[in-house]
Amino acid sequence: MSVQAEAMGQKPTWRKYLSWNTDHKVIGVQYIVTTFLFFVIGGALAMVIRAELAQPGSDIVNGVEYNRLLTNHGSVMIFLWIIPIMAGFANYVLPLMIGAQDMAFPNLNALSFWLIPPAGIIMMTSFFVGAAESGWTTYVPLSLTAPFGQTLWAVSVLLLGMSSIIGAVNFVTTTLTMRTKGMGFWDMPLFVWSMLATSLMILIATPMLTAGLVLIAMDRVVGTLFFVVQAGGDPIFWQNIFWFYSHPAVYIMILPAMGIISEVIPVFSRKPIFGYKAIAISSMAISILGLLVWAHHMFTSGMNPALRVPYMITSMIIAVPTGIKIFSWLATMWDGKLELKTPMLFAIGFLAMFLIGGLTGIFLAAIPIDLHVHDTYFVVAHLHYVLFGGSVSAVYAGLYYWFPKITGRKYNEPLGKAHFWMNFIGANLTYLPLFLAGLLGMPRRVADYSPEFATANMLATIGAIILGASTLPFLYNAIVSWARGPKAGDNPWRALTLEWTTTSPPPENNFDSPPVLTHGPYDYGDPIVQLENQTS
């Protein structure tokens, strides 16, 4: 396509998405499409899991195959879907939101993306050589004796960790050094704050996983003795080094999601965000606290009982900044002029489902409760409410919200609403019964289970079918609307952050001239601002 055509903001050719391109907007789309593909793969693995669990008895797969399914389901969803798609959103949106023309390190940015397809392929090929089967938590000794696919898994996650770390360096540097004139820290959109907090966690926590995976890989490949019990190796040491990363990982997965929600709710409530500073500071607080609580995953490991108590207390304290955010979002909606478009529906769905997930997290933080429900379906239900009900809802909210900006077209609204309802009903039907199963005593990671858990599991499987099917209206909507939806214009949502002041999609250099800040990112309802925005 001609340079002029591209400069005029017309739809770029698909070829550029398959190449090494340093434009953050291209990289953002590469991330989003690639990670969504892995979402579908992880979802397919989940469908097999739910088919197996529909009835008691190990009828479709045997125990080992089941372990491989659940390990890769979790690993794909965490490392190849949620964590990278948040980076993908940030890639597309962050430079635009701060009025920059690209990220600070465009070539490193491309590298961050291009580490992902090979890593994903490596993890997928592990199925042909005996896939990883020790859970995404890779506990030893099983992860040491598992077949070759486990080593491939470790290599894959190492590459993905590097991608994440490089991305974090880029996001922090871009945010700190490339904000447009007049945009101080307290003028940044909250999504930018959330990426700052997330990136700091990535820089501190992810290298620990790198170190741990190196130790596991060396034990497997070279014969070192880090986790070989007979030689003095310590399985609990693995748990510590793993969870030191993996607890912050869950905040890495939710903070950007919360950032998206902070963007969507004010726009569709036509009201300024309530508690902007409180939300920004809460993001940083969650980031710091999140680095301190990892041992709450180890309450039943045999760790020093007295040491469990500070972990319980700090874990519960994280509920405070989280609650501040939830109340702030609710207060933003209060007395607002709500527009229940699809992004807003997913944002409200986020509030409902993340609340359930978050509250059950506080239950789990309590040692006496955790001792009973650790490694039961109570935990599985909790994590899916925060990760699916929370993060995935926010991802969909973001996809619908920024769809017009990225593609220049409007998606089909009725289809979007249909997707939301199928998703909301499906998700709750799938995950709510699992709380009950866990409280009744159903353990995690089993293909066969006692008959008293059968009803809960049957309900969950039905929900999963609805959930799986719900992806179809979304995909149809996204693809067809991108190809021939109605033109969206610069600012179909009448939003106030900087990405909406340029064309849809933006030209290669994002802005024709440096953006001049005349109002804050959430000044809805201000009459002067309203006048300025009339002509979009």
């Binding site: 974090a168 501190i204 170190a211 060396m218």
Partner: protein, 198 residues
């Protein structure tokens, strides 16, 4: 326009925010992650030294040889500082000299490490002989790997210097390399103290 050779697009010159140079900031952030990586490996070493002590193998470690090696690495950090000072004053030739000295000292350090590893394996301490061996070689081995990468990088900077890439106005490439080299040196000081001295 402010489009730099590295592709950094900042035509609005907003990069003045906070007065930080983006390349230096990026390097600091990367080094922060490297601190955590070495922290992980170090915590493995320290944990196992307490939970699975190996006094016989511990006694095999040669403080004298490695002490001299440490001095060599410290000197190489000094030559990096002198090199950076040279280019800040605009003296490309002296920069080249000190970069060359850094490379020589780095290679000497690595040779010392290789010799140390070799003699230890001859005495029975290997990667797989005990948990102590595993953690010792992994920790010091990854450090050596970082030194090796640093030597390659120093060579690249030296090449650039010989081609006139740096001047008193354009020193960032040297400075950023210097940050990395100093980091590798500081890691070694921590490692040397915790492995050999304590």
């Amino acid at each position: 326009m402010g489009t730099h050779a590295t592709g950094y697009k900042d035509p609005f010159n907003s990069g003045k925010a906070l007065g930080l140079n983006h390349t230096k900031l990026g390097m600091w952030l990367f080094l922060a992650s490297e601190v955590m990586f070495f922290g992980g490996l170090l915590s493995a070493f320290l944990h196992y030294r307490v939970s699975a002590p190996a006094p016989v193998e511990d006694a095999l470690l040669d403080i004298t040889l490695v002490g001299i090696n440490t001095f060599i690495l410290l000197t190489s950090s000094f030559t990096v500082v002198l090199g950076f000072g040279s280019i800040q004053a605009g003296n490309v030739k002296r920069l080249g000299f000190f970069l060359g000295a850094t490379i020589v000292l780095g290679v000497l350090f690595l040779s010392g490490q290789v010799y140390e590893f070799y003699s230890l394996t001859q005495e029975g301490l290997t990667l797989t002989s005990s948990v102590f061996g595993s953690s010792f070689y992994t920790l010091t081995g990854f450090h050596g790997l970082h030194v090796f990468v640093g030597i390659l990088w120093a060579s690249y900077v030296l090449l650039g210097a010989l081609r006139g890439k740096y001047s008193s106005e354009s020193t960032i490439g040297v400075e950023v390399f210097g940050l990395y080299w100093h980091f590798v040196d500081i890691v070694w000081i921590v490692l040397f103290t915790l492995i050999y001295l304590i």
